[in-house]
């Protein structure tokens, strides 16, 4: 044996080379795969926003990525972060441990990042469209945004002198600060969207003109007409409709309210009106009267609770019968209410039982409807899309944003002559708390919400979505999980398909159902 061979034998037998030369991936019969299952937040969100995904991005402080994911379905996180009623939080599985995720807070953080890092795009010469949007509320703005980012020329027509629709005129500033809305609007202008104010459809703006001049038209005029109920005395001095009142407040006009104030209604407009009224100088007492019970109030309960805390008097099961006024001045003096309640047949008003409520002003918040008269005669070949409260009746800002996006997609599909993307819904059940394998998350500290958005986002359990908790990495006997590109990925060269990661994944985001 030569000396070289001898040495080689020793080297070989002493085992100096790493076993990573042995690709054990060939052993497996099934490979774990990352899947995405439906989380309660994504299921409940009216925009179907990919909440766990942008939570994950915020956790890693990858704000650009968070914004990209967010803006797929919601271009206005600063707005929704202030005004959305957050159905996502209701079934948040974290709430079963300590406290549900403060989703609006993280949304606002993404929105703030967007404000701080926004740069106007450089659009090419060739612009597509043009498309007209009638109404600058959330639906109209959303539609304009999605068209503009695809390079379409968009003009938004607004009847008021101020842009924003409900956002500007219907939602009080203590809920949505003016500067937030202004910044959002300025971004939209920098995106190239043209705003034309003081143009009212049906008056100085007609549909046939629009459809002639623009390739497509998106109608988003909202639901601003107060629903008229026959209430004796409602024509007297001192009676306001809720939206008129709120618009006046938001536009710094001084509605002449006399103390005490009675607000009639149970929806969000009623609560907003009550809370606004109480903030006005000279108003010391506001009552909110609703014809049904508290549990039946359509208004968002945290808002109702806030009103209560602020001192608004809540009266339930009282139906307005008559508004009394002084014969001489014509100024109202009070409202007569009858007891009412809901039973199987509907609302039952007991006219034999009544009480008087003295007041100086009444705000009627009995609902709104869309004004269809402004459209004139509609012809079949008119290139029209519509969305928002105009179509659904009074709903939410969030739903309006969704409608705007769907409208934009439909418009683009029609202009580009292709099929419109499907309206997707979910057929699967969201991941329940009991399904999660949280016992594997030995790093979970039970605590309340963090003030820091990244730390708050780290509390997300990622129900059904990988949120990089690292349990798969920790428990892999073959070290076949690597940290690549800000996520854990399986190394299929070595994975033997034992399935420990699948069984232990706290978020249930892995499956062995696939092939090798």
């Amino acid at each position: 044996m030569s000396a070289k061979t001898e040495q080689a034998v020793f080297e070989y037998a002493r085992g100096y080379q790493p076993s990573s030369l042995n690709k054990t991936g060939g052993w497996r019969v099934a490979a774990p795969e990352k899947i995405q299952r439906l989380s309660p937040c994504r299921s409940d969100c009216l925009l179907h926003s990919d909440v766990p995904d942008w939570m994950e991005a915020v956790k890693g402080e990858r704000w650009e990525e968070a914004w990209q994911i967010m803006s797929r379905t919601n271009p206005f996180p600063s707005l929704t972060g202030h005004v959305c009623f957050s159905p996502c939080m209701e079934n948040c599985n974290r709430g079963r441990l300590d406290q549900e995720l403060d989703v609006p807070a993280v949304e606002r953080a993404i929105g703030q990042w967007r404000f701080d890092h926004y740069e106007p795009p450089e659009r090419g010469e060739e612009a597509k469209g043009p498309v007209a949007v009638v109404g600058s509320g959330p639906a109209g703005l959303s539609c304009a945004y999605y068209l503009a980012v695809e390079g379409y020329r968009v003009t938004v027509f607004e009847r008021s002198y101020t842009v924003g629709g409900m956002l500007a005129l219907g939602i009080p500033e203590y809920r949505l600060p003016r500067e937030v809305l202004d910044r959002e609007l300025s971004i939209l202008e920098e995106e190239g969207i043209k705003f034309v104010t003081n143009r009212t459809l049906g008056k100085d703006l007609q549909l046939p003109e629009l459809t002639g001049e623009f390739e497509e038209v998106f109608l988003a005029t909202g639901a601003w007409l107060p629903r008229v109920e026959k209430l004796p005395g409602m024509d007297k001095k001192g009676v306001f409709h809720a939206l008129d009142f709120l618009s006046m407040v938001n536009t710094r006009q001084h509605p002449e309210l006399k103390d005490p104030v009675v607000v009639i209604g149970g929806g969000n407009a009623a609560v907003d009106s009550a809370r606004c009224a109480l903030r006005l100088n000279g108003i010391n007492h506001v009552s909110l009267v609703y014809r049904r019970s508290r549990a039946e109030m359509p208004a968002y309960s945290p808002e109702v609770e806030a009103a209560e805390r602020e001192g608004v008097e809540l009266i339930f099961n009282a139906n307005p019968g008559l508004i009394e006024a002084d014969d001489g001045t014509g100024q109202i003096t009070g409202v007569v209410f009858n007891y009412s309640k809901t039973n199987r047949e509907g609302l039952v008003v007991d006219k034999s039982r009544s009480f008087n409520k003295n007041c100086g002003s009444v705000i009627l918040a009995l609902g709104q409807e869309a004004d269809h008269s402004v459209f004139g005669r509609l012809e079949q070949k008119m290139p029209l899309f519509a969305g928002g409260d105009l179509v659904t009746g009074p709903a939410t800002v969030t739903e309006a944003i969704r409608a705007g996006r769907l409208g934009a997609q439909g418009i683009m599909a029609r202009i580009e002559n292709r099929a419109a993307p499907d309206l997707y819904g979910f057929s699967e059940q969201p991941v329940a708390f009991e399904e999660l394998n949280l016992i594997a998350r030995t790093d979970l500290e039970l605590k309340d919400r963090h003030a820091d958005p990244a730390l708050e986002a780290a509390r997300c359990l990622g129900c059904g979505t990988c949120n990089s908790c690292g349990v798969c990495y920790l428990f892999c006997p073959d070290l076949a999980v690597d940290w690549i590109n800000n996520s854990f990925e399986l190394d299929l060269d070595y994975c033997k398909g034992c399935g420990i990661c699948v069984v232990e994944c706290p978020a249930r985001a892995l499956t062995l159902e696939g092939g090798c």
């Binding site: 037998a13 085992g15 790493p18």
Partner: protein, 380 residues
Amino acid sequence: MPYELISGCQAAALAVQRAGVELVAAYPITPQTAIVETLASFEARGELKGEFVSVESEYSALSCCNGAVAAGARVFTATSSHGLAYMHEMIQWCSGARFPIVMVNVNRTVGAPWVLDPDQGDSLSQRDTGWLQIYCANAQEVFDIVLQSFVLAEELLLPTMVVFDGFYISHTYEPVDVPELEQSCEFVGPPKFKPQVAPGEQANLHGLSSGETQLQLVRKRHEDMLKAPATFSAINEKFNRLFGRSYEALEAVIPDGARTAFLAAGSTAETVRWFLPELKGCGLIQLRMFRPFPAEELARVVEKHDLERLVIIDRNCSTGTGGYFAQEAKAALYGVDRRPVVQDLVLAGGIDLTVDILAHAAEKGPESGLTAIQWGVDLR
């Protein structure tokens, strides 16, 4: 140089001390106990460089040595008969692992029944384990060869067993020239073999290997072991220069005209040498290195002196075959044209070799041909 009056065991212990051994792990067993006790007393006086560990069995003794030698330390252990047998698995492991361990085995009969007298069967039954085996005839040889063994083992990377008779050598006091520590250190030098366990260096030492790898390893081990006689010779040259003594793997003391030679290893060789003048026409072939068996050298001696008869003194017996040395010698002489008659004088169980036995063995040839056994008791 002053001579010390010491026993074989003490001589072994002194050699271990002089060699600067870094770890001794041992378990007591008659007749080796004096080795461990002497080493312990050195430790007590602060004269032992290394650590001394009293383990709980011979198997653990050799295991402990294994761990230490893998890290590159110079180690030593000693045992006898049952202890050696108990270590058998580890003994095999050491040679395959190429650990340069030096072990003294003091010959003692392996039971049943319990017998304390020296029988070489304990070390000889380990002859196939890949260890070098060297048999000493007196306490001086014990000291010298144990000291040399560290150099030999570390040079060849093969474990080495130094063997001597229980009681006849282990417990007999003789004058022994024991060199000073400094001179001994100069001779032995520090351990120079590469540690197998080197912190920071990944290695899978002695892990699962294929038959193919094993064949290569066996071949290498075999070829390395065959270098032993030459290496031993070189070491003894250096030893001679420093201390004025040297040894050969196979030493022939054959007067002119002698046609009979006694082949012996261990204290029996010393006995024969002592009585040689009275045994007319006989010579002595003292076997020191038993593994590897110096076959060529034996054949050369037989041919040179034209020996007609070899009386092989076997203080051992491989049941059913006869003495080990006889067996090995016959195999070694297979290629010689004029093979001598082999007479197997078996003293298994350790009975004393008297001049009567020798004389009778010299007189009487074997009763039947080449292969008969002569039982020592019959020749008294």
